[in-house]
Symmetry: C2
Subunit: 599 residues, 2 copies
Amino acid sequence: MSTTDLFFSSDSVRTAQPLRYAQSVELPGPLRLEKGGELPAVTVVYETYGKLNEAGDNAVLVCHALSGDSHVARHTPDDDPGWWDIVLGPGKVIDTDRYFVICPNLLGGCRGTTGPGSINPATGRPYGQDFPTITIGDMVTVQRMLLDKLGIRQLRAVIGGSMGGHVAMTWAIRHPDRVRGCIAVATSARLTSQALAFDVVGRNAILRDPWFHGGQYYDKPTKPEVGLALARMIGHITYLSREAMQEKFEANRYQPREVPVEFEKKFSVGSYLGYQGKRFVERFDANSYITLTMAMDLFDLGGTVEELTATLRPARCRWLVISFSSDWLFPPEQSQDIVEALVANDIPVSYCNVTSRCGHDAFLLEDDLDRYGALIRDFLHHLDPDTAQPVRADLHGPKSIFHQQRIDYDHILNLIPPQASVLDLGCGRGSLLARLRARGHRRLVGVDIDEQAIVAAVGRGLDVVQADLNHGLRFFRDGQFDYVVLSLTLQAILDVEGVMREMLRVGRQGIVSFPNFGYHKIRRMVAEEGRSPKTAGQLHYDWWNTPNRRFFSILDFEEFCRDRQIRISRQIYLDTESGVEVTTDPNRNADLAIFVLSR
Amino acid sequence: MSTTDLFFSSDSVRTAQPLRYAQSVELPGPLRLEKGGELPAVTVVYETYGKLNEAGDNAVLVCHALSGDSHVARHTPDDDPGWWDIVLGPGKVIDTDRYFVICPNLLGGCRGTTGPGSINPATGRPYGQDFPTITIGDMVTVQRMLLDKLGIRQLRAVIGGSMGGHVAMTWAIRHPDRVRGCIAVATSARLTSQALAFDVVGRNAILRDPWFHGGQYYDKPTKPEVGLALARMIGHITYLSREAMQEKFEANRYQPREVPVEFEKKFSVGSYLGYQGKRFVERFDANSYITLTMAMDLFDLGGTVEELTATLRPARCRWLVISFSSDWLFPPEQSQDIVEALVANDIPVSYCNVTSRCGHDAFLLEDDLDRYGALIRDFLHHLDPDTAQPVRADLHGPKSIFHQQRIDYDHILNLIPPQASVLDLGCGRGSLLARLRARGHRRLVGVDIDEQAIVAAVGRGLDVVQADLNHGLRFFRDGQFDYVVLSLTLQAILDVEGVMREMLRVGRQGIVSFPNFGYHKIRRMVAEEGRSPKTAGQLHYDWWNTPNRRFFSILDFEEFCRDRQIRISRQIYLDTESGVEVTTDPNRNADLAIFVLSR
């Protein structure tokens, strides 16, 4: 957890500083709410960063999480730090020299925008628990009204993490015509039952606090501080990963900090939680906590991928979905469900599961900023309609079987007709896709297991999804692509049968290239020298460290296809050493084979 | 979660039934406590099952978890079910026709044994929070005094899960002369910071409940029921896995049950937790909850494997350690630390990480009983000094390279001198180890990644540890074994270098057998047919489904050893088809090679 002090994690100990740069607007009511009821009028507090350009197309809407507010980052060097200072600012990931950023405090919050602590005009006292049940959709409605008022018709992107991700996704679904890109970080289509359960316990702690008084505690000397602190303590545990907690508290398990709180202080982690709970109570309202967590708990884009696919159908902007490997509150599988539903709708999406030890809080911390920040920055960059998208030189591209160039790409490109949609399995940094894009193909998707490859491919403006081919291509519909390419990858795959089956389910045609272990030089190494084959290029590994695990020849592969009624419509055999196509006895004379397959 | 009803999970809704078969003894005081203070006298309530045999050596001590009690199982068909009814009884895993089982309610509990709800003789009223801090060690002291009183000198085994595992391990450390076997299930050397944090929040909920009255609530009309219920709700979430909660609550997320509780009932999972919390309050005492969780939180066998190794040094009985793959409260890595420390001390141990979807509660549920039950039953069986341990026929043993028998075993056995200690990597069901044991070897340990193989090997009375060779042999000390065997396994290993390095770190000698891909028949397949090699026996797989991923010859392996200064002290080359040793041109004429290696 790098530089973070024991008692300062994410936004948890920020106090309720005055919002020096916040602005406020009154939205005319009544606002009809999705779960019934209405609000007579709504105040929205928001902050902006940077300048709206002349075209009015550089606005980025930032949606805060449960305990956030409008203060994303400092406006001036002497300003208080915001909850996403590391991400937003001049020259940063969300570059305020380039984008006009707006972040409103969400409806139901307690930092200026109308919420349960606001005065109910009907009674002249705070709403308290009379504040109606609100939804993420209601929050979006209020944000939309704000943008209308500010004259912002078009958003370059909407971005949010956790509950902010719920808001961002709802924007993309409700107002696809106004959003160019949606960035959903550490979020989900709906909470897991486990996450929901923690919320329920937290709310119960508040609701059953004897000083809660049915929510009308505002004028009381004692407030439901114990209940709210308990809720926050539970929440805080769920925001951290188990590993992160070990790192934070194991070395000094029995050395609690001296903190002026009335909670148990026997253990280091206990003094930390007690302190976090106490500080949270100073800046957050118990009724808002109930209102906002309930909105999050009611958020539901579907309990199955099928339902989710239907819900996301209108969300036709470009998407970037980011999860964190150690996030157990919003686990990566939930992001993968979102990606699956987007892909099923042919909505362009990139997805990366960032390797992290920081749990759900990772998106607020600096530890993994090199990757999630790069993804966000590059994705935003490529949303710019004026951004030239040159095909960058691929310095780290894979190698030919005997040489440094991928000469199979030329042949594969020739096999794919113009305009065809293509899925590249094991796309790496996107070399083949970039060439296809340069040739004018529109619907291009890559899949790779490697995080760095995904980050690099997103950096090129490609749509790539991080996934393990061995676990199936569940992301994709039957026949979704004209061509599915598996270039020099099959030899490293565990589940050959599964990947081949999936490839020909998802693609109308499949193109497979592989090194031929029947090649005469390889045969000679085995037969004459009695040694494991090793060459330059693709086969430059030793027997004990090669990532290749399948050693097969053209004959082997033909038999494999024949046994499974896979139709071979085209075969290209290459001798990559001499750079020529092979026509006679390819199993002996070709070192590389390209097959075009179908069912 | 198979047959479990939504509202009946593990022991959670058992009510405080009268303990019809419980017995009670008074232990003379004062009992001096480890953290200071003393108890003037202690009452212990316990139940027994089965009969103590004449030798007095069939007693099994069962240690309950946090919310358990002395009532492990029903005594008669019409008795109330106990918390481990599925495991204990006539003919069951802990067979009461065979063993004499005793289970006392633990010190500090609230089901008969002295605890905070007992009358403090000094004041004439319940101890409440005047009850001293107790430790797991104090609980063991009380159990030991009870056994002394009952005349039970020797325990066949002590067994416990979760906190019960803490008690069982403490027995093995403190009284190794009285314990033949220790079975530690779903437990840890100390709590993770995350688990500790949840306990702290639960205690805070109780301590800050306004009806707690500093623990003197026994004569009050209102008790700290909300706090205790909140603590139980938090605990309950941590006992279940995320998957288990999905299965339980996803289908009916918005259909809460009608339950007569004052907690939030908006969601299915909420009504469940509210109900669980309410029922728990009916049978459990808030002060006991604080006392017992604190004892668990203070339990600490060491924060590092080094410390743990020192702590476990005296614990010289046989061990069985069981974890559950989806247990995130007591995660498998913690059991692996215990195993590592035991192995470092040359203490015999078997370890299995049971694949389960049930989380921490798995050991109380029927879902995975086929595996954890078999492990416990067989381990207990082989603790019997009278149990003959015949070498069972190995019906599922691995195959020779070309044939159905493992002819390499005979040669490997001949290479190992009598009495040598042996570690078998990739031991499978323990065929080689069983032959070594039959020959009189004492110190034999097996490692395998496969759960079923581990269960089978424990069934043969062997000491086997479930681990992935590719992740290193951290379990073992430098030079811990005379011989480390890697028979017909290297060809399936990803991290060849790492495994070879570890092998020669842990063993003074290493014995490696592998199929030779330089064999003339294989060369012929490659060279003449241009096909991936496939034979009967060990190489009966196809190129696309073989678990083998390393294809190397004797020459390749010799070079590998030479490059790493690995000393080859003996080479045996076999032609397993004709069953003869090969002496000329082995790289061409042998299909199987055995190397004896050292540094």
